[in-house]
């Protein structure tokens, strides 16, 4: 008996197990409808943002006053605006700006939130200080705080990223902190400490990587929120300065002519809506996949 167990090829068993694990994961991903739909929408929009400008026929800032308020047609799919600019080109170029800002905010806020979250979970005194500051930021309505920050910083894309990141960081820090507080009490952290690992090593090698799943889920929602806040800021005239075609700017231009040219607001508005729906579906799907205690298992 003993000799037969020793003869088992461990490498083959490991490979088979890994294959089995991968196929289960793939099946879970495919059966998760919201994740797949969300991913398809987001992937399509990212591809459009990256490669769309290479394909489109019209310059987003080229004016053609003779062709003002042209209805959607074969040459101008989304129609033209009050200066004769092609709305489709502007929406595609706007995707670069708006989604770029969304990605930048998600990255900056995630990094800042991760640092604040893990350190405040580990050091109690720092926790009191950092959590009171984040409580203070969270007490401000997000859009109004972003507006006030934009007033102080001035209208530039980098400032929009900074303002929205400041608003979003506490939400990420909260999630990371609650996850890290539970991890801190786990036996493996205790064992690592007993082996003589430094605080920095425990935080960055053992606690931080285990908070990543919740962090990524939260980051997708922050991505969606950032697009909405950027659109709102630009709509109010405090975001990206015009003529740059961000989705908020296009909406803002169209607002004046909404009764005359519905396509100026309808298409950018629909694009924002579809993007946010896609991101939220993707985030929900990701949460179902990464967190076994999420809503799907309860249903």
């Amino acid at each position: 008996m003993t000799s037969s167990t020793e003869n088992i090829d461990l490498h083959a068993v490991k490979t088979a197990l890994r294959k089995e694990h991968n196929s289960i994961l793939l099946r879970q991903i495919i059966s998760n409808r919201s994740l797949v739909i969300g991913f398809v929408i987001i992937a399509f929009l990212i591809l459009v943002a990256l490669f769309g400008p290479l394909v489109i026929a019209h310059d987003p800032n080229a004016m053609n006053v003779l062709n003002r308020f042209a209805q959607p047609s074969a040459t101008h799919w989304f129609g033209t605006d009050n200066l004769g600019r092609d709305v489709l080109s502007r929406v595609i170029y706007g995707a670069r700006i708006s989604m770029g800002i969304g990605v930048a905010v998600a990255i900056v806020a995630s990094l800042a939130g991760l640092i604040v979250g893990v350190y405040s979970s580990y050091y109690t005194r720092l926790d009191h200080l950092l959590m009171r500051i984040s409580d203070g930021i969270m007490a401000f309505p997000g859009l109004l705080l972003a507006l006030a920050l934009m007033a102080a910083l001035g209208g530039r894309a980098s400032n929009v990223v900074l303002a929205v990141s400041i608003v979003a960081t506490p939400y990420i820090a909260r999630v990371v902190r609650s996850e890290a507080l539970a991890l801190k009490e786990q036996t493996f952290v205790e064992a690592t400490r007993a082996l003589g690992a430094s605080d920095t090593r425990i935080i960055w090698r053992h606690i931080a990587p285990n908070t990543l799943s919740s962090l990524i889920v939260q980051a997708t929602f922050i991505f969606a929120e950032a697009i909405i806040v950027e659109a709102a800021l630009s709509f109010l005239g405090a975001g990206i300065p015009p003529p740059a075609p961000s989705w908020g700017n296009i909406l803002s231009d169209g607002k004046t002519y909404i009764y005359k040219a519905w396509w100026m607001t309808f298409f950018p508005g629909m694009t924002i809506t579809i993007t946010i729906i896609g991101l939220n579906l993707f985030g929900d799907g990701l949460r179902d996949l990464l967190d076994p205690h999420s809503s799907k298992t309860k249903n």
């Binding site: 309505p141 859009l143 109004l144 709102a232």
Partner: protein, 76 residues
Amino acid sequence: MIGQSFLGLMGGTAIVETIFAIPGIGQLIVNGVMRRDYAVVQGAVLYVTFAFVFINLAIDMLYGIVNPQVRLDSKK
């Protein structure tokens, strides 16, 4: 729920008031931003935040009245 929605709704007022030209606090802030009138922006945002904090405080206190099970007992 009311306390949480209040925060989102106050942000929404800025947009709604600008579109429909309603002279409210949202438009005050937006106009303040446009004219780089920092004192007005600071004051109005702080006012909204205080309103939010006090509404949340009132709701937290109402919890105890509506549902005695969640009343905080200092003697324990």
